[in-house]
Amino acid sequence: MMVNNVPHTGSGLILGIESSCDETAAAVVERGTRQLSNVVASQIAIHSPYGGVVPELASREHLRAIVPVVDAALREARLTMGGAGFGLNSLDAIAVTEGPGLAGALLVGIGYAKALAYALSKPLIAVNHLEGHIHAVLLEHAASLPVTGPLLALVVSGGHTHLYLAEHHNHTWHYRNVGHTVDDAAGEAFDKVAKLLGLGYPGGPWIDHLATHGNPDAVPFSFAQIKPKVHRGGQRTSDAPFLFSFSGIKTAVLRYVETHAMAASIAARRQQITASTKPADALQLCDQQTLDLLASFQRAVVDDLRRKTFAAAEHYGAHGLLISGGVAANRELRSRFTRAAGERGLPIAFPALSLATDNAAMIAAAAWPKLLAGDFAPSSLSARASLPLGQ
């Protein structure tokens, strides 16, 4: 998909900054497609030559991390560019997450980005975090997705489960929210079920690994049909007929555990799993009943996401699908979505793991079409904790 159809004479380099929730991140991306660097604070902590940033949620931690993280992103970009010739002045713009997220956390990134843009006399670009997730996929796969017609995006993570129609026309991306969860996000269900069964956090990788050893048909889980309801006052505020609900299945797993006398084995497993235990080591700590429960849970969640996503794709005549957010890393989700898309002849794309979870490369990538369109943020830009995407 060609989006750079407006002449651009600059370097095409955008520094992206993301601090909406747990991660402080910075990245340099060229023309929305080539990652020169992609740094997340938690990675720095692992090999800590930058002073041992401890990645923790909330604003004070972002405040500590932002300078070393941006420095690391610029340094890595310089290396990728082959050293000489790259500096802060090579940037065409500074992009930053405006929302949704924690107000205090967002403000750290926004304050830093504003100061940098002002000092360098570069434009400032505000990006919606959810739009960023969509561009995490476009960044790598724009070429394999159709040029015209709407794309359907499923953004599925610990904090979000949204369906968006995304369409590029008049040099601008347009989004329409056509589905969302009414209670828990899908990733949250993975986390809470993992916790219920004495596994580690975040729950996704544990369940992904262990579910392959269980029978997905062992425990029947059903999803209640959710009917969009008319607001008492009159009209609904959003036209989002594809609604998800993952709170019920969490309770269903809890009830299964209670009625099948699994408490003792769960308590034993919880004791044996430490911070250094890997999902692969947990297999020997799980009996067949637990593995079957995990496999059935994962199948139920993936099937529900798949059914509604493909129903929405058909309903809106989407020309392609893109799946993003942390849950997009789940292997069963990838294989079942890929098969379903193949049966329908629909192009489908997933992000690389480093782009699936929160990162700043997706913010820099989403900013590129805005740079071409001259869609810049005012110097009064502030955090918008509940910023929606699309109508």
Partner: protein, 161 residues
Amino acid sequence: MTPPQTEFVTHSSAETIAVGRKLAALLTPPKFLILHGDLGAGKTTLVKGIAEALDAAESDEVTSPTFTLVHEYEGTLDRHGKRTPVLLYHLDLYRIESERQLETLGLDDLQTDDSIVLVEWGEKFPSVVKRSQGEIVMTSLDGDARRIVLKMKPEPTAAKS
């Protein structure tokens, strides 16, 4: 003086939402309450009803703050025959592990004269318990039944102004 206590028993999520609507009338700002209940007790469901009653959100729009930590809804409240603005904050401290992390959420900033702050898993932190004016306790009974109790502290602690 016995502290004011209000108790409800519900048998479905629809009934829990209805109780949330009733509770909203008792939550005159400023309020800072712990929302106590195990996984699956229906805490988010109850907040749906409260948010609806305050015209702050439709029930579909109220989602779990477990990952996002703080959800804010702007609504209105009938006060002296006039609709006045109210801010509803729904917090979840499930993922918060220390008082130091908690500090960074800026509870002081949320606790204003026109706000209702409901904090899930607030009982984990003595500082939150101390700050709170009471709690809403949700308990799972048999099947889908839930007991919902609003317990105010005997002496209404002076809300931070």
